[in-house]
């Protein structure tokens, strides 16, 4: 492609950004190590850790047996003992095998020991659908974890966050779960120049608008941004809020945006019933009811196990067209009773 714009040297993929984050953490702190299924010789199921074994050796890039409970538990033990383990769980679907370790141990030990113990563990999990991987590899269960006190749940949805959230997570004394949407690994772009760190406290406005707030994270965030572009052509200025952390939720940022636009649409790849979207909607109801010009709306995944067939999988997930329609309905409601 002789006419293509020359590739900026700074262009990288989301996968590269996470790898850079790992490389930096491993380089800067000898207590850090990476552990998980196929993270070493295979280079990671999503090729995130490719090349790290060669750089850091088998002591710090450790392949584990196929036993999530065992290696997450080992990670908790290592954290208790003073190390800074990064445990990769291939997908959130498989983390259910380690649910006991995560919920009953990692999340509780600081509380149950009266603060004497801390578990500075980072668990990285792929999440989400969109790659025709079948139901058991495609669910979005991060909302479940966001229910649990003692855990911090963060979702890097941009290259910057993919690059810098890991360091922020490692700096915390308590367990952090980082959810990487598997659809985003191939997303390319460049990092914000001069950015060196991010926090795990605040939501971020990814696009400003005055008419409706689209609240989202992960792949859905990018669907919201695409929808906002379409809506702008219709004269509807959507604000897009990237939650970044699902626990704790940045209520202040959510309410500030809703106060500004007076309408909110939450786009969540989780199922609707008992969802994180429900939690956010309720908080808006509690804290910003009198700011609203329309009922809070949600767009979630159809309540089915994610289908394998491409057209069915697409139909089950939130889509930019669906977001556009839902946002339009909020801004221009049908008149009359």
């Amino acid at each position: 492609m002789p006419n293509a714009v020359p590739e900026s040297p700074a262009t990288l993929s989301y996968r590269d950004a996470v790898r850079e984050a790992l490389r930096q953490a491993l380089s800067e702190d000898p207590r850090v190590f990476l552990m998980g299924e196929d993270v070493g010789r295979y280079g990671g199921s999503y090729a995130v850790s490719k090349g790290l074994l060669a750089s850091f050796g088998p002591e710090r890039i450790r392949d584990t047996p196929l036993s999530e409970s065992a290696f997450v538990g080992a990670g908790i033990g290592a954290a208790l003992a003073g190390l800074r383990p990064i445990v990769e769980v291939m997908t959130v679907n498989f983390s259910l095998l380690a649910l006991d370790q995560i919920v009953n141990n990692a999340a509780t030990l600081s509380h149950m020991s009266g603060g004497q113990l801390s578990v500075p563990l980072v668990i990285r999990l792929a999440t989400g659908a969109g790659r025709q991987l079948g139901a058991q590899h495609s669910h979005s269960l991060e909302g479940w974890y966001a229910h649990v006190p003692g855990l911090r749940i963060a979702v890097p949805s941009t290259l910057d966050d993919a690059r810098f959230m890991l360091a922020a997570a490692l700096a915390l004394p308590d367990p952090v779960l980082l959810f990487e949407h598997l659809y985003l690994y191939n997303m390319e772009g460049s990092l914000t120049e001069g950015l060196a760190r991010v926090d795990l406290e605040h939501a971020a406005i990814r696009r400003s608008g005055r008419d409706v707030t689209l609240i989202s994270y992960g792949w859905s965030l990018h669907k919201c941004l695409a929808a906002a572009t379409t809506l702008a052509a219709e004269g509807i200025e959507a604000e897009v809020l990237d939650l970044r952390t699902l626990r704790p939720l940045d209520d202040a940022a959510i309410m500030a945006s809703v106060r500004h636009t007076r309408r909110a649409l939450i786009v969540d790849e989780g199922w609707r019933s008992g969802s994180l979207a429900a939690e956010i909607a309720m908080r808006i109801n509690e804290q910003a009811f009198y700011e609203l010009d329309a009922p809070v709306a949600r767009l979630c995944t159809a309540e089915v196990p994610i289908p394998y067939a491409r057209h069915l999988e697409e139909a089950a997930l939130p889509s930019p067209a669906g977001i556009v329609a839902a946002a339009r309905a909020l801004v221009q409601p049908a008149g009359g009773d």
Partner: protein
Amino acid sequence: MRVEFRLPSLGADMESATLTQWLKKPGDPIRRGEPIATVETTKGLIDIEAYEDGVLTELVSLPGTRVPVGAVLAHLEVDSARSVSAAAVAVPTAAAAPELTREPRPTPAAAPIAHTVRLRLSPAARRRAQQLGLTPQALRQRAAQGGVLRLQDIEQLDGEPPAPGADARAAMRQTIGAAMARSKREIPHYYLGHTLDFGPAQNWLAAHNAALPVGERLIEALLIIKAVALAAARSEGFNGYFRDGRFEPSAAVHVGAAIALRGGGLLAPALPDAHAKDLPTLMREFSALVMRARAGHLRSGEFTSATITVTALGADGVDVLFPIINPPQVAIIGAGAIRAAPWALEGQLLIRPTLTLALAADHRVTDGRAGARFLRTIGSLLADPQAL
């Protein structure tokens, strides 16, 4: 003890009103004279007042409903064991009203804004409307266009108070017509005219106002009102109500001031105890009354309490205004325009500012001789304005 707060009659021709808004909620302490609710009548929106001190205990009627005169709107708890029913105090004309309105009347062609329109306000719109003090009527007019009112709609409404629509104007015209027809049918009017030299009053007014900021200056109409009030207090048979076949004189003089509304229509709310108040006080109350009347926020007492009325066409007027008595009152003074005219004084012909006052009075109560004395008393009071 518990007393019933009933919808008062706000005019002999009023049969019902639409409750538009509660201004108090259960548990609120209520002071006598405080507005409790706003109702919509053919005369526009009126704040109805409490007639006793107490606590509002229960709201009986819902906003948006049409209620007949005398219907219980709410319950109050009052301390006094001597309390009579709030309605009995509230409705001085209630006893007469049923008879007077029994005659079949055409159904008003133009009902007030449909009270069946359910207000659908977004939470943000609802809060903003409250902050702006927008009336449910204003919102209902907009809501009638359909859909949910949003913040933007409310902010558009603010600053453009809805002009009385053709419907409201027609309803008010009908009300005026009914009251005047009743007056002409039942009251044997007699008319007297008296032209006087308004020079002394005008000179005094100019001197008095010269030292005052614009906001405190007195107007000519106020001198006339005050003079009528004093004359009414000193005369017999002009101040009070004719009810149940007899005249009930009033010790206090509450002067109804006819106020023309922008966009058409006429109201004559009362300046209470006008005979007993000094001119600056009356002026303040008169200004406030005019503003409230034009904003559609008169209080119920102001509608019902006038014991005599003054109507003036002002500078745009003509020489003589023959007024029609506003029942159940028994007298009304019409003031023509003040204009320079030839005036004979002590054998000389002068040019003086002149004013012609016309009295319409009820022959069931007084005769022309008493009327003439009454008019002359007004004239002599205006000739000595510093005594007003």
